[in-house]
């Protein structure tokens, strides 16, 4: 009796003392996702079970704070409770068709309550090319979380083989998750992929390039991992194009409406019209603007993203998703193509045409939604939105170039509005040097083919304003080439010729014409204008900018030292690296020279590989 009363008291006290766990928000990430009710034809569902032997090797404390998963005053350290919560939420593997067919048994307590979706989307590499069997081949969507008026999508890569993987489609059978006989399609992801995504995406995010971000990496034996990604809206064009290709009007309508509503609810789009037709046309304009802006940005920042008509490797707002084929070149290696065994990728200049064609697909989709009749894509070859795309692309190219020259926002806007012809004329001669390639012709690289660019435009943009302001006269042709030549240029490439000599003079004269146009309306004289440009352009066109090659080397090194690193150390490293690679000319913080060996190694690698791919 006494024991009973004591137990009751203890229970009551326990209840009284129960305070909300600091990690209760994680509980909301449980497989449920609004797409499951809004667009039923857009996913398949899987039960999931706990995946054991995982440990958290990276957690993005800042992102978790932004997403409201941990309190803003949480220390940037992983404690046992937080690690347990992360593993509980994300250390999952699906129970797939193979498991069901083979009646594999799993402990009941390991099976999660809810279903998790693998979304369907169009993928060019699938044989049927209409999306009957393509989509998330090794990912599931963990759910959503709302914070400060923004709903974030969360998905995990490496969570098991779904029937939407290319392997199932090609071999017409289901695969056991982790099946060693197939690599791409076994449902697992590798740790180095995840680390590469962390480092690259944080650098891009810091430089205001929209991108998926990594919330966590859970590491498993054999250098395998589950990479948890987050973004305010993870829908890709291919999620819509799937239904377009299949002429599934209802499903296309559902997912389009779902996307519009999320953009509106998140505040990403303002004043979204209510009337259906206006709403869809608004949507079309928004995606047109996003893809034109992105295509120009990618080209100007030398970001290689294998885009194609399926709209797979990119998000609806032009954000980067899936870093498998993402690179950043140091020079405009516009002939580089990735060798994907059975085919070559697009090159960087073809990205514009692919983006434009994605917009043509959107035009077709919107027309289909408005008329109920699916017309041939060719019908839309002269659609006003393609003209809009071309105009925005060209506008962005001009603005991006002015920014890279070092003009401030006010000066950029002024030149753009009042001296457009001069800007375009300069862009033409800039492009002459940027596009120049080696006489050696096409060569093989470790993963593709290339014809090397021979000039480093970032070098000339960085040095020219300094030299012009000090010398008060333009550089001789040989000097200009000396400043601009890249390490890829051979003697043969640099043999002087009168045409190129004339171009070196034209470049500088047109450059100075832009400077003089700004001087004419400002209180600054030419030397002060050039000086301001010099300080800005030396940051924007940083000598040691990261490339895809350098990220690969950095990841290799991190993999070597990782056993000695805490999860918070990788978080700190990603922060330090993105701060060092922040090219914002207005940034306040001066990165101090790295004290630890890894960061010193990174600095050396980035310098060494700065002109690569």
């Amino acid at each position: 009796m006494v024991t009973d009363i004591a137990n009751m008291r203890l229970e009551k006290n326990r209840e009284k003392n129960t305070i909300k766990s600091p990690y209760s928000q994680f509980g909301k990430i449980n497989g449920k996702h609004p797409l499951q009710t809004s667009a039923p034809d857009s996913y398949i569902l899987y039960k999931a079970r706990k995946r054991k032997n995982g440990k958290v090797s990276f957690f993005h404390f800042d992102l978790a704070k932004e997403m409201g998963l941990i309190s803003t005053n949480h220390a940037n350290e992983l404690n046992p409770d937080l690690e347990k919560q992360i593993l509980e939420t994300f250390s999952l593997v699906i129970i797939n068709e193979y498991d069901i067919e083979n009646k594999r048994k799993f402990a009941k307590e390991d099976i999660k309550d809810n279903f998790y979706m693998a979304t369907r989307y169009l993928q060019l590499q699938h044989p049927d090319q209409v999306g009957n069997s393509s989509g998330d081949g090794r990912s599931i969507w963990n759910g959503t979380i709302e914070s400060n008026g923004v709903t974030w999508d969360i998905s995990s890569c490496g969570s098991g083989a779904t029937k939407l993987s290319p392997a199932t489609s090609i071999y017409k059978k289901f695969f056991k998750t982790g099946d060693p006989t197939i690599s791409y399609g076994c449902g697992y992801a590798e740790l180095d992929e995840g680390l590469g995504t962390v480092l690259f995406s944080e650098i891009f995010h810091r430089n205001r390039i929209p991108t998926e971000r990594v919330l966590a990496i859970i590491e498993f034996p054999g250098e395998l991992a589950v990479t948890v990604r987050a973004y305010p809206n993870l829908i890709r064009p291919s999620h819509l194009f799937l239904h377009l290709k299949q002429s599934n009007l209802k499903a296309l309508d559902q997912i389009t409406e779902y996307y519009i509503q999320r953009q509106s609810d998140n505040g990403s789009w303002k004043n979204v019209p209510k009337r259906r037709k206006d709403r869809l046309l608004y949507f079309l304009d928004k995606v047109t603007d996003a893809f034109a802006t992105t295509a120009a940005k990618f080209e100007d920042e030398y970001i290689f993203c294998w885009m194609d008509w399926d709209g797979d490797n990119i998000l609806m707002d032009g954000g980067i998703i899936d870093y498998g084929s993402i690179r950043q070149f140091g020079l405009f290696h516009h002939e580089y193509r990735y060798d994907d065994d059975d085919r070559y990728s697009t090159n960087i200049t073809e990205q514009k045409a692919k983006s434009r064609y994605i917009i043509q697909n959107f035009i077709q989709a919107v027309d289909y939604l408005l008329t109920g009749e699916k017309k041939s894509i060719k019908t839309f070859q002269k659609h006003p939105n393609l003209k809009r795309f071309d105009e925005i692309f060209s506008d962005c190219k001009d603005q991006n170039l002015l920014y890279k020259l070092g003009f401030n926002l006010k000066e950029t806007n002024y030149l753009y509005k009042n001296h457009r012809a001069q800007v375009k004329a300069f862009r033409k001669v800039f492009s002459y040097f940027e596009m120049a390639k080696s006489k050696k012709g096409i060569e093989k690289t470790a993963d593709g083919i290339i014809c090397n660019a021979i000039f480093c435009m970032r070098d000339v943009l960085r040095e020219l304003p300094q030299l012009l302001s000090v010398r008060k006269k333009i550089l001789e042709p040989a000097e200009f080439i000396e400043v601009t030549k890249s390490s890829y240029a051979t003697k043969n490439d640099l043999i002087e010729n009168s045409y190129r000599n004339q171009k070196t003079q034209e470049f500088q004269k047109k450059y100075l014409k832009l400077v003089k146009a700004v001087v004419a309306i400002s209180k600054k004289d030419e030397s002060k204008t050039l000086l301001e440009m010099a300080t800005r352009s030396s940051i924007i066109n940083k000598y040691d900018r990261v490339t895809g090659d350098s990220v690969t080397c950095i990841v290799e090194e991190v993999m070597k030292v990782k056993p000695r690193m805490k999860p918070s150390s990788i978080f700190d490293l990603s922060k330090e690296l993105s701060n060092y690679q922040d090219l914002n000319p207005e940034k306040k913080e001066t990165p101090s020279r790295p004290k630890h060996a890894l960061m010193k190694y990174i600095h050396e690698v980035i310098k060494e590989l700065r002109e690569g791919i």
Binding site: D459, E463, L475, P591, R593, H603
Partner: protein, 219 residues
């Protein structure tokens, strides 16, 4: 010979020294080349450097990083400047790169031609006979991470320089002990202080201590 040795500190503390540097050039708008100790984040330092000297109406600046390959044009232009400023940073790394690129000789010739050479902290130490002062005291020294063996520096002056000096027993004892065997006097300067040399004239701006054969004198 025109030299300015800066200890360190904030811009406002170094106003007089900055002004002295500009005046030594004898020009209203001299050209100044900024040589960072390391290219890591140096473009931001360059921006701040420019801001500091724009207050003296200087508008001609070059940023010349020496731990990366550089082109002939920027190199030649750098040595045509009226003044060259060697920044602060890791003294060993800085010296190693200047030596590797064979720039120490160029800098000496630059000074002989009448150019103004200035250095802050590591940059100032490099102008002295050796970089020994970067290697002690143990509680406040640069890490010789690249294992630089030859600590001989430019030897433009016949004294050693200890920047960021804090007047305390701890520091004082270290300086005394070092100078007991040292050939040269050692000038230890607090942040915001520096030494201006114009030919035979030597001017101490701010707070300095001279250590010689184990003794200390406040200047």
């Amino acid at each position: 010979m025109k030299l300015v040795l800066f200890s360190g500190g904030f811009e406002r503390e170094n106003k007089k020294l900055n002004q002295a540097l500009v005046e030594l050039t004898g020009k209203n708008n001299p050209s100044i080349t900024y040589i960072p100790a390391s290219s890591y984040g140096a473009e931001i330092e360059f921006r701040e450097f420019v801001k500091r000297f724009r207050k003296f109406n200087v508008t001609k600046f070059l940023h010349f990083a020496v731990d990366v390959p550089f082109d002939k044009v920027i190199y030649e232009e750098a040595f045509k400047s009226d003044a060259i400023f060697l920044s602060g940073g890791n003294t060993f790394y800085f010296l190693q790169n200047l030596r590797k690129k064979k720039l120490l000789k160029d800098l000496k010739k630059f000074v002989e031609r009448g150019g103004v050479l200035a250095g802050l902290s590591a940059g100032a130490i490099i102008m002295t006979p050796s970089i020994n002062t970067a290697g002690f005291p143990e509680f406040d020294c640069d890490e010789n991470e690249d294992g630089v063996m030859d600590w001989k520096a430019m030897g433009l002056v016949d004294f050693e320089f200890f920047p960021h000096f804090i007047n305390s027993k701890r520091y004082g004892d270290e300086m005394k002990s070092y100078t007991e065997l040292s050939k040269y006097p050692l000038y230890a300067s607090r942040d915001g202080s520096g030494i201006v040399i114009d030919g035979k004239d030597i001017k101490f701006i701010g707070e300095h201590y001279c250590f010689l054969k184990g003794a200390c004198f406040k200047l």
